[in-house]
Structures are given as C-alpha cells and as structure tokens.
C-alpha cells in the first residue's frame, strides 16, 4: 500500500534533504527553517519515504504557472 502512493500520478515527488543540501539551498533565503510549511510524520508520504521529525522534504510538483515547482516542507510530529 505505502509503496503504491509513491507511483500515483497525483502524489508529487518527495525527497528527504541532506543537511548539507539544506544549508546550500537556504543560504540566500532570509528565514528560519521553522517557518517552512509543515508536514506530519504520520502523513502517508512521509511514512513511505521514511522521513523523521526535523527532516526537510523537497517536493517537486507540476505547476500551472511554472511547469515544475520546487517547494520545501518541515516534518513535524
């Protein structure tokens, strides 16, 4: 079941970011990590990719305006 949602067309791609990547990406952006949109650890997609509280997920999804759009979410309990 949990594998199934990863290939579903309506579920965008979620990737757990490494700490080094987080630093690289957020270097220029002037805000704190806690201010990111949240995602629950018990969210099916978070469970499926094995995310833990405190992780930052990179979400790549289709966008009406921009083609593909990359956004980030903080995993919270």
């Amino acid at each position: 079941m949990s594998e199934g949602i990863l290939v579903h067309e309506l579920v965008p791609k979620h990737v757990i970011l490494e700490n080094s990547e987080i630093k690289k990406i957020f270097k220029d952006l002037d805000f704190h990590q806690d201010q990111l949109p949240k995602i629950k650890v018990e969210d099916p997609i978070a469970k499926a990719i094995g995310a833990e509280v405190g992780n930052v997920l990179e979400i790549t999804r289709e966008s009406e305006t921009a083609g593909t759009f990359v956004t980030y979410r903080l995993v919270e309990p």
């Binding site: 220029d28 952006l29 002037d30 805000f31 704190h32 201010q35 990111l36 949109p37 966008s63 009406e64 305006t65 921009a66 759009f69 990359v70 956004t71 980030y72």
Partner: protein
C-alpha cells in the same frame, strides 16, 4: 491627560466589584434631576460638575481641568435592592444550575473538581480557550443530588431575560446574589469564573456606575432648550425608581408594592444596558423613538466599533458627483473651485517660496489660489481673515506652515466605492475647474467602474511630502494602465474613442490637408513632415486616416494582430483581408487594417498593451491622451449618428426571416409529435423529456441565430453606424441588433424554457402540457416590430430573473471577496520571492510558483514566444 505614553503589557478581562465601582466613583448620585431653574447643575445630580465638564469656560470640580481637557470621572448610584445585570443573566443561570441550592458547592464529586481544575489551569497556562471545558463541566454538574450535602436538587429555569426560577418559585435578585456568594473560590474557577479577577456575585449589581457627562453630553437646541442624552434619561428613570423604592422600604410598605418597584428598577437597569434585550419592551423616548442605550451604542454597522473605530471620517477629503471631461489627461482630475478653496495642502515656509506664499495669504480664504490657515513656529494655528492678513504677511518667516488652497498639479488620491481592487484608489494631478463636479477622463472609467448617471467619488489630499512622493511613484493613474488581474490594459479607450478610431483609420477614409491639420492639432502633436507623400498619387494633398494615426505610434513599433472586426474566415488572407481587419504596424506606421477595440480599448487593446510594456507608462499615457483626442476629432470630422433606421431591413429580408422561423416551429412540432408517439430516442444519460427539451432548445437557438444572420447580411458596415459600434466593440453587440431587427428568441427561467405559471401550462392561452415553441416562451417578434402580450409576459419573466440574479451575485461575490481579502491581507512578497505572512511563516517559496508579476506578464504568461517571433519577422 496629554503625553502619557505607556506600553500595554497584558490585558485582563474581569468584572467590576462593588468596591471597585465605589473606589472609582467621585460622587454618589442621589437626585434624579439634572439642572435647576437657573440652568446650573444640581449637586449630587446627574450633571454634577464632579463628573467632569463639557463647557470650556467651566472647571471640573474633581481634577480642576477645563472643559475639553477633562476626560470626566465616574460616579455611582447605590441601588436600594440588588439587580441582575442583563449581560450576565445567562452566565448566572448556568452557574446556578451547576451549583447546589443548599450548600452552594458545585454538583461535582471531589475527584471531578480536581480533574476539571487541572484541565482549566493547564488550558490557561497554554493560553487556550476554556469554553469547551466549561461546557463539559456544566454537563457533568447535572445531578439530582448534591454530592457534598446529599440535598435533593430542584430544577433551575431561566425566564428571559433576567428572572430565574427555582422550580415554581421565582428567585429575587437578593436570593440569587446570596446563592452566588456561597460559591467558594475554588468552585468558581471550575465554573469558569477566575477568582483572581471576578466573583460570581458581582454579576448581580448592588451599585451602579454612572458614566461621566462627557459620555452623555446634553445638547442645546437653537431655541435655547436643553436636550439630554438618552443615557441621562435612562439614569433619571433609574434614580427615580430607586428613590421611591428606598422610601417605600423605609416606610415599611407592603411586600407586594416593594416587589413591584423592585421589578421596575430591574426593568430600567436592564434597558439601561441593552434596550433590545429579548422579552423586554424597549424603553421609549417621549416621541415614541426607542432609546439608544449602552449596547446600542456599540452594536452593529452604526455602532462604535464598525463606524467609529474600524472606519473613521477624515479631514482633507471631498466628495461630489463626477462628470466626464475628454480634454483632461488620464492622470488629471478636475476639482471644482469650491472644493479647491476648502481642502488645503500644508507648505513649509522657506526662503524660496515665501513670496509665493505671501501672495496666497493676500488672496485669503475666498479667492482661489489662496490660503486658509497659517501655523506659527510655536504650533499656534491662525485663520487667515481679511483683518489678520496684513499682520500675518508682516510676521511670516521660514519655519511657519501655510495651509494653502489646492492648485493645479497637486497630487490627490481619488477613489470610488466599492474599492474592490487597487485601481479603485489612484493618485491624480489636480486641475482646478469651474462648476461643482469632479471631472475625469473617460479612459479611467473602467478601473473605477464609474459612469455618470449620478455616481459620486471621493478625493483625499496628501498632507506630507513623503506621502505625495510615494503616491506619485506607486499610485499614479499611468502606473495602473496594466491590471494585475489579467496582464493587459484596464485603462484604455471606450465607446466613441473606438468607433472614432475605426472611422478614422478604415480604408477609404481620407481628409483634406486642413482637416488633417485640425485633427493633428487636436491630438496636440506638432505639424509633421509627411513621411511618404508620393506613395499614393491619387491622394494628392489629402491624408489618409492611417497616416494620421501613425503619427501617434512610437517609431520602432512593430505589431501584427487580428482586429475585433475580424470575421474569423476559414483561411486568413492576412494583409489582403478585404474587411480591413488584419492590422499590421511596421516601424511605427499603420500599414494595414482598421483600428478598433483590440487596438487600444480597455481590457483588450493590443497596441496600448505593447506600448506600456515596451516603452513605459509615460509614453503610454501620452499615447492614450493623444490617440483618444485624435479619435474624437476624427469621429467629429466624419460624423456619427444612429437611429432605428439602422435596424431597418427590406420586406424581402423580413419574409425570409419569417419563413425561417415558421420552418423552425414546424421542426419543433415534429419533435413534439415524435415524442408523443413514442418515436423519440433518448440521448445517453438523459430522459426522454430532457432529450426533447434539448432538441427543441437547439432548433430554436439555431432559428434565432439564422434569422440574425439573415438580418446581418443586409447591414452595411460602411454606412450603418449601429453596426460600426457593435462590430468594433465600441458599444452593443450584433446580438442586440439582431434582436431589434429579426427575432428576440427563446426566453428562459432557471436555464430552461419557461415551464411555470399555471397547472401544467405557462398561461391559460395554451392547452395543458403544450410543448410548442410559443407555449414555452419563444419570442418570434423583434423588438422593433413589437412583442405580443404573451411574448411580452415571457420576456418580463426572463428579464426579472436577470435582475434578481445580478442582485444576488453581487452580494455573494462581495462576501466571498471580503473573506479572501481578510485571509490574505497580511501576506507579503520578500525580495527573494518568498511569500510570507506577518509572523514570517512561509506560504509559498516563490510567488505564484513562477515569480511573475501578473501585471507585467503577457496576459498571465511570462512571455508569448509566438508573438515575439512574429514581431521580429515584421522588422526589416
């Protein structure tokens, strides 16, 4: 009173204790009278000078300040008997219901109390709402027997608004107070009354605070008569009854009389707080008008919150009727002289402007470029009068401020309600004009959604240089030509500008040299050298309209598009279009095509759109001002007129239309027959009836279109100005014209043919269940030939639905917009494209996911590649 600045750390909401009320009271009010015969306030009366003063010549007896400076002080009335506060009657009822009638403990076991207490304290620590917990307490405390004293509990009921019954016995306010007093602090907390800031018994009043006179000022009428505030009237009532009650009690009057008076006191105190409490007849003024008491002052649209705190009336503003002026720029607004002499701009005096300002002062407040006030260096404001003028001019020096009249070139904010988008408030340059209306250029009607059938608009004058500078760079009309709603121009040509441009630029439109120069002059252009005078030898000294319009276009403009008049032919002949609808602009020269709404109209103007995006708002403003003036000049040279003759078609055409409609009706009858005989086949997913309806609607729709087409084929674009207006997009549509000429068509209610009215039929003129075209609201007639009574009735049905729908739609979309605006109002876009709320939380990591400003986009897209390539191809 002034200059006390304190920072609010936290706010505590609680109840006023009787001690607290007495402590804050400067005087006890006893006498129910206000003033004596000589007009002096009575001591211990409701207007006692201890309560503060209004008249600036008097001194407050409490604080010694003069009227206007003293904010006023509270007094108090000792009530002869306690009285329930209406605002808390429901809370009292809920508490009494959850409390033992005998011992006053909560009807909860000790463990329950402990658990609830813990929950409430936790919630309070976490700053969470305790409402839900209190509700559970009240549910749990519904016990027949007190767990503490084992006493059987009787049923407590509330009799709105202020009486509480224990079984069949009605509790007096004193008894209620006694019961509330018995509740321990610990129990009070569980019941939702924080003992730190309130006690339950404080909800029953023993002493009533009297608001200062500044809260309820009396007004003196022209006749010299004094008229008291509603609150004062109510307080007089309370005092009078209170006095009678205590007299009766002292005299040892029978219980019945005392209770009646007590009841009356309760009524007056109740209506003093809330005169619209349910179950109480509202207290009325002598004239029969209900009194406006405390709750009414705060409540609703006209209440203190919505009318005085969320929205305020402002100074330096003006409002009047608007009217059009095609001769002023889109950036300007015509301000009546009367307004210009009333609203002012503060100017700081310095060595460079002192002479100019002296001239204004010399003109005084009556003559136009004058001044109304000067503010001296010591902040004293002096009105400019004929007598004071000279001394002011003598004394004026740098550092003073002169409040001079509005004059040409000042920046003001101009607004029309409802302010639905940012273009509803734009900054304009003032142009002082005679007469009494605001004047605005017709191109700014679409953003304000204004017309001139009596619309009024507001103007606000900026009072600081910073605000003026900010408004000029951000809010000026020319900066809002492009709408962020659809990435195209919202300010643009309308109506006559469009038909004018068409008549000017269509093929065959030529002007003599004199006419051409007049048009050029009107567009405020220099007399140019002709670009290619020998291109067309037939022309001689005459100018074509296309040549004239080309003068307005920027030199390197290249553009190609299909006009509004385009007929969408199967194969587009492009430059060879025989309808003149394929527009080509090469290097700023209009080569092919006539201009219409698609050229520079609001919402769809392509040339205008390109000019704003490529050349900036200054050029665009210039282009719009000049092109509209040229179009108006052109339309006046050609002449435009319309009458019902424009909708006239020959008899032969009418016969053809009639024949066509007859055919359609026969066709409908055939469908109905097929249905009745059961030969009709249902479409997938539809019932037989639905299929029939659909087919009939289709036949009738086609019939109207076809009859319209027949009529249209007799209309000539060259001579028929109604058609010119409809096809260029200036006003009206071809449908409007064909409805006038040929056939109005099917009327509908609720999206289908008309089927309501009498039992199984629309009108008694028809048989029951008749399904023919006419029986269900098809109008064969044209507006010009006139509708028969049955058609007229159906038309009125359809028309009424249209009106009702628009009324409902505006209300619904207004509320929807309000909710959206409230949810989004604090969001901002940071420098790196993040969208954040006011706490800094990230809403979007890139604005709109693509970071594109919709106002600068090409109709919502970042760029239209096809268009760019097309334009590059035109360039040589």
């Amino acid at each position: 009173m002034k200059e006390i600045i304190k920072k609010i750390d936290h706010i505590n909401f609680g109840l006023m204790s009787p001690e607290n009320i007495r402590k804050n009271s400067v005087i006890k009010i006893v006498t129910p009278d206000t003033y004596d015969e000589d007009g002096y306030p009575i001591e211990n009366g409701l207007m006692d000078p201890h309560l503060g003063v209004i008249d600036p010549s008097l001194k407050c007896k409490t604080c010694g300040s003069k009227g206007g400076e003293c904010l006023g002080h509270f007094g108090s009335i000792d009530l002869a008997r306690p009285v329930v506060h209406v605002g808390f009657a429901d809370n009292i009822y809920k508490i009494l219901r959850s409390v033992c009638n005998e011992c006053g403990r909560v009807l909860l076991t000790d463990t329950e109390i402990e658990n609830f207490k813990y929950e409430i304290l936790m919630a309070m620590d976490n700053e969470e709402s305790i409402n839900e917990i209190i509700k559970r307490v009240q549910d749990a405390a519904k016990k027949d027997k007190c767990p503490h004293c084992e006493e059987k509990q009787s049923d407590i009921k509330i009799d709105k608004p202020t009486s509480i019954n224990d079984g069949d016995y009605r509790l007096t306010a004193s008894e209620i107070r006694d019961r509330l007093e018995r509740i321990t602090d610990e129990d009070a907390l569980v019941l939702g009354v924080n003992p730190k800031v309130a006690r339950p018994e404080w909800m029953v009043l023993t002493v009533l605070p009297v608001p200062p006179v500044t809260v309820r000022p009396s007004i003196t009428l022209e006749t010299g008569e004094r008229s008291e505030d509603d609150l004062t009237h109510k307080l007089v009532d309370i005092l009078r009854i209170n006095q009678r009650l205590s007299e009766n009690m002292e005299a040892g009057a029978p219980q019945l009389i005392v209770e009646d008076l007590w009841e009356l006191l309760q009524y007056h105190v109740t209506t003093y707080f809330d005169n619209e409490a349910s179950g109480v007849p509202p207290a009325r003024h002598r004239s029969g008008r209900p009194l406006k008491t405390l709750a009414q002052r705060l409540k609703g649209k006209e209440g203190r919150f919505r009318s005085n705190l969320s929205g305020k009336r402002v100074n330096f503003s003006a409002r009047t009727v608007i009217s059009p002026d095609p001769n002023i720029s889109i950036n300007e607004v015509g301000v009546p002289e009367m307004i210009a002499t009333e609203v002012t701009v503060p100017v700081h005096v310095n060595d460079w402007n002192i002479e100019e300002l002296k001239k204004y002062i010399l003109n005084g407040p009556e003559v136009h470029p004058g001044a109304n006030y000067v503010i001296r260096s010591d902040d004293r404001k002096i009105r400019v009068y004929d007598d004071t003028k000279d001394s002011i001019i003598e004394n004026i020096e740098p550092g003073w401020v002169v409040e001079r009249h509005l004059k040409d070139g000042d920046i003001v904010l101009f607004n029309r309600q409802p302010s639905l988008h940012r273009m509803s408030m734009m900054a304009h340059e003032v142009k002082v004009l005679p007469y009494k209306t605001f004047r605005l250029n017709l191109c700014v009607c679409p953003p304000y959604n204004a017309d001139f059938d009596g619309d009024e608009m507001n103007m606000h004058v900026f009072q600081t240089d910073e605000s003026r500078a900010e408004a000029k760079s951000l809010m000026r009309v020319q900066e809002h030509i492009l709408s962020p709603r659809f990435g195209g121009p919202i300010i643009g040509a309308i109506h006559d500008h469009i038909s004018g441009a068409y008549l000017l630029t269509r093929n065959g439109s030529t002007f003599t040299e004199e006419q051409a120069f007049q048009i050029i002059r009107k567009a405020k252009l220099p007399i140019p050298k002709r670009k290619n005078p020998n291109d067309n030898p037939e022309l001689g000294t005459n100018w074509t309209g296309k040549e004239l319009f080309s003068l307005l276009l920027p030199e390197k403009l290249n553009l190609e598009y299909k006009g509004e008049i385009c007929k969408n032919c199967q194969v587009c002949k492009e430059r060879d279009c025989e309808f003149d609808s394929y527009v080509v602009i090469e290097d700023g020269e209009l080569k092919y095509g006539a201009l219409d709404e698609k050229a520079y109209g609001s919402f769809s103007g392509k040339i205008l759109d390109k000019i704003v995006k490529d050349y900036g708002s200054d050029t665009a403003k210039e282009f719009l001002d000049r092109s509209t003036n040229m179009a108006i000049s052109g339309i006046m040279k050609v002449g435009i007129t319309t009458s019902t003759n424009d909708e006239e078609i020959p008899q032969e055409a009418q016969d053809r239309i009639q024949a066509h409609l007859d055919d359609a009706e026969e066709n409908v009858d055939r469908h109905v027959k097929a249905y009745e005989e059961g030969e009709l086949e249902a479409l997938p997913g539809r019932s037989l009836e639905e299929t029939l309806e659909m087919k009939i609607m289709q036949v009738l729709g086609e019939a109207r279109d076809k009859s319209g087409e027949i009529a249209e084929s007799y209309f000539a674009m060259e001579t028929n100005h109604s058609v010119v207006m409809a096809k260029t997009g200036a006003r009206a549509s071809m449908l409007n014209l064909t409805q006038i000429t040929a056939c109005v068509g099917q009327q509908s209610v609720r999206g289908g043919r008309i089927s309501r009215g009498y039992i199984e039929r629309t009108l008694p003129h028809f048989r029951k269940n008749e399904l023919g075209a006419k029986a269900r609201g098809f109008v064969h007639s044209s507006y010009k030939s006139g509708l028969d009574p049955v058609e007229f009735f159906f038309h009125a049905m359809g028309g009424r639905e249209g009106l009702v729908d628009t009324a409902i739609r505006t209300a619904q979309s207004g509320y929807m917009q309000r909710r959206l605006v409230n949810a989004l109002q604090d969001l901002k876009v940071t420098e790196n494209g993040l969208v954040q709320d006011n706490k800094g939380n990230v809403i979007q990591t890139m604005f709109g996911e693509d970071g594109v400003d919709p106002a600068k986009s090409d109709h919502g897209k970042a760029a239209d590649l096809d268009k760019i390539i097309k334009e590059m191809r035109i360039k040589k």
